[in-house]
Symmetry: C2
Amino acid sequence: MKILAQYSAILEEALQHTKFPEEPHNLYDPLRYFLQLGGKRMRPMLTLMACKLVGSPLEKALPAALAVEYFHNFSLIHDDIMDAAPLRRGQATVHEKWNAHIAILSGDVLLVKAYDHLVSYDAETFKNLYSIFNKTAVEVCEGQQMDMDFEQRTEVNEADYLEMIRLKTSVLLGCALQMGGIVGGAQAKDSQHLYDFGEQLGLAFQIQDDILDLYGESAQVGKQIGGDVLANKKTLLSIIAKRNADTTQLEELMNMERTTNPELKVARAQELYTKLGARSYCEVKMHFHHQKALEALQSMSAHNTNSELLELSEFLLTRSF
Amino acid sequence: MKILAQYSAILEEALQHTKFPEEPHNLYDPLRYFLQLGGKRMRPMLTLMACKLVGSPLEKALPAALAVEYFHNFSLIHDDIMDAAPLRRGQATVHEKWNAHIAILSGDVLLVKAYDHLVSYDAETFKNLYSIFNKTAVEVCEGQQMDMDFEQRTEVNEADYLEMIRLKTSVLLGCALQMGGIVGGAQAKDSQHLYDFGEQLGLAFQIQDDILDLYGESAQVGKQIGGDVLANKKTLLSIIAKRNADTTQLEELMNMERTTNPELKVARAQELYTKLGARSYCEVKMHFHHQKALEALQSMSAHNTNSELLELSEFLLTRSF
């Protein structure tokens, strides 16, 4: 998608221009480092697109987009500590390259600085942005806590799992789009449709992620296939498989989890999850949320340019598997 | 101070009324726990006092006061992780009672919820409060990072140390007072005087803390005397003592640091620091900042009620030693 490259270039330039102080360097070096690790910049891109969609120049949405990107990176820095993740985008995480204390504190200051970007708007717009931003920030923390809690639980049902991914991932996509709508001067109704689009797109995307992790092509997914299964991680696939299994099949699932040979374990999971209807259930679920996303977009007051968001959603959801 | 008890009661009641959601309980239980551990509620009290001082009912300042108290508690929860502190106000810290991951995340959400209290003000006031609050939040993080950095350094000079305590402690007192002034409708000039009062009071208080830690009466200080010396912590006393020492005295200071008998070590530090003029230097410095604080208060447009803040500053700075 050529248009993505254009948005991406605008964002990278804006990020280059937001300088952190030199000192204390142990506080700000990690942020300079982490923010230039890149990533798709999907969230701030959605903010720019939404602003353009409602008929305003996308430059107007840049501060809001940066707030979203800072927030996202804050949450990644802290999540990486909690997940004990050594790598992020192929590079050392902040707590690995520096230490956990520095990662906590530089994450904190990045969250504070996320809010800073919003100050450039007039008082009324600022307050509107702030409300949705703050609500979302709380939800993302709640989602991360649910995710941590699920690791300790033996049983997680579908509703709980979907609520966790909604909070942890989808609401920030919704927020990014809604903020773009607000600064672009959209009617409240349209801002809400933008939010709904993002939220549903996020759910579809996250479910797709679960499917691709097991059934994708390694080259397409960009990582080893079956990582979730190998880590015995709870995903929508595993939850549905367990739910659909009878006593014998539950036994098979438990045997699969105990398999030590990685290739064999992944192959067994692929076979079992397909047999138990988990794969097809997740695919239907993904398409359902994709459809809901498109409906939200179609509900918006007529604008010609919403083809960009449509194109983006197609792009995101046609990683084949 | 009877008036403190009244303010304190108002704050405790307001804190009781700000409920956190039940779930995820691992996110919100730590906040319910930590916020009821008490403490002096000095910072939010300053916000209420400032509002009253500029002639408005103190209830107007309650949301701003709660924002300040939430922020302060967020920073304590995260600082306790970094300091590996087992106890806070005589009770287990959040990372001890739960774990470090939960302490990170519940701290994060408390910071976000601090901002939430500000939304109750009209858009213009909100934006004004927000600017000073956010600037202060960044500074407090910078102060904490400097404090951590100092632990790794062999030499810290007086200016760096004072800047560290200014950022880590004083600016939040200034912010608390200025926010009270703003919501009370003070002129910009008076809000600035309130900020200056708080900043200088904070410096005086922190220097006094260093002195009391070594020269106070255990019963008055409420903790063991000489804790800083026993932990070989850098304080204004130790920095000045080192600066004033000749080669032989430097040798004596190093010997003192290596002393293993705690009573002997503390007694030696008391003697050496006094002999080297560190104690008297710190006392002069403390009175200097106390004086500057009073001057800031006297610069304010005439109000009869500023006797409360005067009384409070006397109360804070007459812990005898």
